[in-house]
């Protein structure tokens, strides 16, 4: 299966207190519900409506997306290096399914 998520940390190893930048891209059409197909029938809304980032099990950042977030949602944000562990990014679809991606950070 082709990768649905691309994650890039600007550093995989950091000193405690350093800022770590996260860039993430998830492949998803983010269907707004405003489009119509060739026959004129409305294409139903189906978007990723929530994004959550945890680092070493602690929630650091989250977002509520509406239909105006572009297709293949891109996000860039930072966190302060505190504890080594997984950086887990989760996107939640309108239909309740999740897309999850992971990177790792080592903190000295």
């Amino acid at each position: 299966m082709a990768a649905q998520v691309k994650i890039k940390l600007d550093k995989t190893e950091a000193q405690k207190g350093d800022l770590v930048e996260v860039k993430a891209l998830v492949y998803h059409p983010m269907e707004t519900g405003l489009r119509k197909d060739k026959s004129g029938n409305p294409i139903p809304r189906k978007i990723l409506n929530k994004f959550v980032c945890t680092v070493a099990g602690r929630q650091v950042f989250s977002a509520d997306f509406d239909t105006a977030i572009s297709a293949n949602p891109y996000i860039r944000f930072k966190f302060k290096a505190a504890e080594s562990g997984p950086v887990i990014l989760t996107w939640i679809d309108d239909d309740g399914s999740n897309i999850v991606g992971q990177a790792n950070i080592t903190v000295n």
Partner: protein
């Protein structure tokens, strides 16, 4: 002298009156249509008037593709337990729906900075509001000119 009017005269008068009234109607300012963004802002701010400053909203002046407009928001805050941004709401005045996205920050972010890409239906104002842990709200507004709308309705 009796006033008589033949049918032609009556029709001409009527047409004239109609044309005159059509002109007057188009002169009236367009009734403001809104997607409800003012109410959204009011709810987020808890009724307070947001202050200007502290929020940097970075958007291109001109977006050729309304379907993917890069946006970066930075809020001036130490992001300590004592003083930090809790939420950032982005509102689009001219989109079908007013809310674009809400970001939830914590001191663990270290900085209140985020980038993403958004859809704009047409040339419009985008407003970013930042709420602090003490309840104060700051805002920034930018106008983006859009050449091709991004809602995919065409």
């Amino acid at each position: 002298m009796t006033l008589t009017m033949n049918r032609r005269q009556a029709l001409t008068m009527g047409a004239g009156a109609l044309a005159a009234s059509a002109l007057a109607w188009s002169d009236l300012p367009a009734l403001a249509e809104t997607n409800g963004f003012e109410e959204t802002i009011k709810q987020f701010s808890g009724g307070r008037t947001p202050a200007e400053g502290r929020v940097n909203l970075d958007l291109p002046k001109l977006a050729e593709d309304g379907g993917s407009v890069p946006m970066t928001i930075t809020v001036d805050s130490p992001m300590t337990e004592e003083s930090h941004v809790t939420d950032v709401l982005v509102v689009a005045e001219g989109n079908p729906r007013p809310v674009v996205v809400t970001f939830h920050f914590s001191p663990a972010n270290g900085v209140a900075e985020v980038s993403t890409r958004i859809r704009l239906a047409k040339t419009e104002n985008i407003i970013a509001l930042a709420k602090m842990n003490d309840g104060s709200v700051y805002m920034a507004k930018k106008e983006v000119t859009v050449t091709v709308g991004g809602c995919g309705t065409s």
